[in-house]
């Protein structure tokens, strides 16, 4: 399916309008949930790490710990899990309903390739927007961490910032963006496949939606492990 989607992208028509609509739904539509995820994750990371670091009198490195955890793991994984829940379920439900009400058959009957018109715009939107939203989650997470560290744990603002800045390597940043690219791909393909293979009426739509989210989540977590191994190997 992915192969057909990429091939479809090269041939006419290109469905630019569809792509823009999907980018808007996936990207702008998910901004709020991603900001909330980022801010609370960053906050709780700061809370937990600085509490532990206090015993060693090393709260100064809170910023560095929050930043690396956020960029390497929490940002990509949590943003993608949230997107799988919000966007993946919506894709599976929408495509599933279209299959059940014969709209996908109608589309084929009218000479349109559903892979090109339905799957490709969603795949592209998720592969562009998941890294972009991860970046937002990372930044907001660092800010959330900073608020908690300075306000609650009494870490000096400048200490937090300089420690956060010095912690990041290029490897972290690039790795932190490759991961969501892969996760976006997983969410799109798993959800579109679940939606397009819906059968059995409205009950089938519910089943496809659950399947899309559960399978996306598991594949994200499993592939995260292997991606982490690969990225660390390049360090």
């Amino acid at each position: 399916m992915a192969g057909r989607a990429f091939r479809g992208a090269l041939s006419r028509p290109h469905y630019f309008r569809e792509i823009v609509t999907q980018m808007d739904t996936v990207g702008v539509g998910s901004l709020m949930i991603i900001v909330l995820t980022g801010v609370f994750t960053g906050g709780v990371l700061a809370l937990q790490t600085s509490a532990t670091l206090q015993t060693f009198g090393a709260t100064g490195v809170t910023g560095s710990l929050v930043m690396t955890s956020m960029v390497r793991e929490m940002g990509p994984v949590l943003a993608s899990l949230m997107l799988a829940g919000r966007v993946g379920s919506a894709i599976a439900a929408e495509l599933g309903s279209m299959v059940v009400s014969e709209q996908v058959d109608a589309m084929r009957a009218l000479g349109t390739d559903p892979i090109q018109k339905l799957v490709w715009p969603r795949l592209l939107a998720l592969m562009v927007m998941t890294p972009a939203l991860t970046l937002v989650a990372d930044i907001v997470g660092a800010v959330g961490g900073w608020v908690v560290a300075t306000a609650l744990m009494h870490v000096a603002s400048s200490v937090y910032i300089s420690s956060a800045k010095s912690a990041l390597t290029y490897n972290d940043i690039i790795g932190g963006l490759i991961k969501p690219l892969v996760f976006g791909f997983i969410i799109a393909i798993v959800s579109c496949r679940a939606g397009l293979r819906t059968h059995g009426g409205t009950v089938g739509v519910g089943r496809s939606t659950t399947q899309a989210v559960v399978l996306s989540d598991i594949l994200i977590l499993a592939s995260d492990f292997f991606l982490a191994r690969i990225i660390l190997a390049f360090k």
Binding site: S101, Q103, A106, M107, A109, L110, G111, T112
Partner: protein
């Protein structure tokens, strides 16, 4: 044609002549809709072949089928309109996909909607339409691009008699005035009787008039196929069907 190991259609063979309406009858689950999906290439047969306009399309790829499907219009059971698009965008879908200029599309869509008496619904959304209107929009969408063959998948199922009649009259109008071939899948006896007894003409005032077939005039362009247990039980004209001694056919039309 078998599905999940169950035989749906077996040795079903028929030809639709130009301008002819082929009515496919049979009980629910007898594979009537499957025939239409096979003709469109939405599903592939396990054996046998399908020819459209003289061209064998049985093994055609999705890309090759795009050209074939331009010759065919399909009316789905419940309209199958795209929820996110307006009536205008639904009917003009094929033309938008082909990238035609907007004024041209608007003209064609308006003309087609006039044919199904729904010009006023042009800018409505599918969710605002009644069941009968949805089907008429579905018919309009199938008509755009002047296909040679129209497939009707139980277009009157679940409609009240007057609305069902308007749908059938559209099919008759297409058959008698536009000369379009069609395959009409139904299990309703009322549909079968109306389609086999009524014809459309243009009267002196230029209006479409529907008349009953009488002894002087006999419809020759409507033929019937009755499916039972995945096989063709009967194939022929209505006169042959009414006088058939086959028990299932007698049971089917018993009043």
């Amino acid at each position: 044609m078998a599905y999940d190991g169950r035989m749906i259609l077996d040795e079903v063979s028929f030809i639709v002549n130009p301008g002819e309406t082929k009515i496919v009858m049979g009980g629910s689950g007898m594979g009537k809709s499957t025939i239409l999906k096979l003709v469109l290439g939405l599903i592939k047969p396990n054996a046998g072949s399908i020819l459209i306009d003289g061209e064998d399309v049985t093994g055609s790829s999705e890309r090759e089928l795009v050209e074939v499907r331009k010759k065919i219009g399909m009316v789905f059971q419940d309209g199958a309109l795209f929820d996110s698009l307006s009536v205008y965008e639904n009917v003009g879908y094929r033309l938008f996909e082909q990238g035609l200029p907007e004024p041209e599309i608007e003209e064609t869509v308006r003309r087609t909607l006039r044919f199904v008496n729904l010009e006023r619904a042009m800018y409505m959304m599918p969710s605002e339409l009644s069941g009968g209107m949805r089907r008429r929009v579905g018919i309009a969408r199938a008509l755009v691009g002047s296909p040679k063959l129209i497939l009707f998948d139980e277009p009157t199922a679940g409609l009240d008699p007057p609305t069902a009649r308007t749908i059938l009259e559209l099919a008759i109008k297409l058959r008698d005035l536009e000369g379009v071939s069609s395959i009409f899948v139904t299990h309703r006896v009322d549909d079968i009787k109306l389609l086999s007894s009524t014809f459309a003409t243009i009267d002196e005032s230029g209006e479409v008039a529907y008349q009953q077939e009488n002894s002087r005039l006999c419809l020759v362009n409507t033929r019937f196929i009755m499916l039972k247990d995945s096989k063709v039980l009967f194939s022929g004209t209505d006169e042959e069907m009414w006088t058939s001694s086959e028990p299932y056919i007698q049971e089917f039309f018993r009043e």
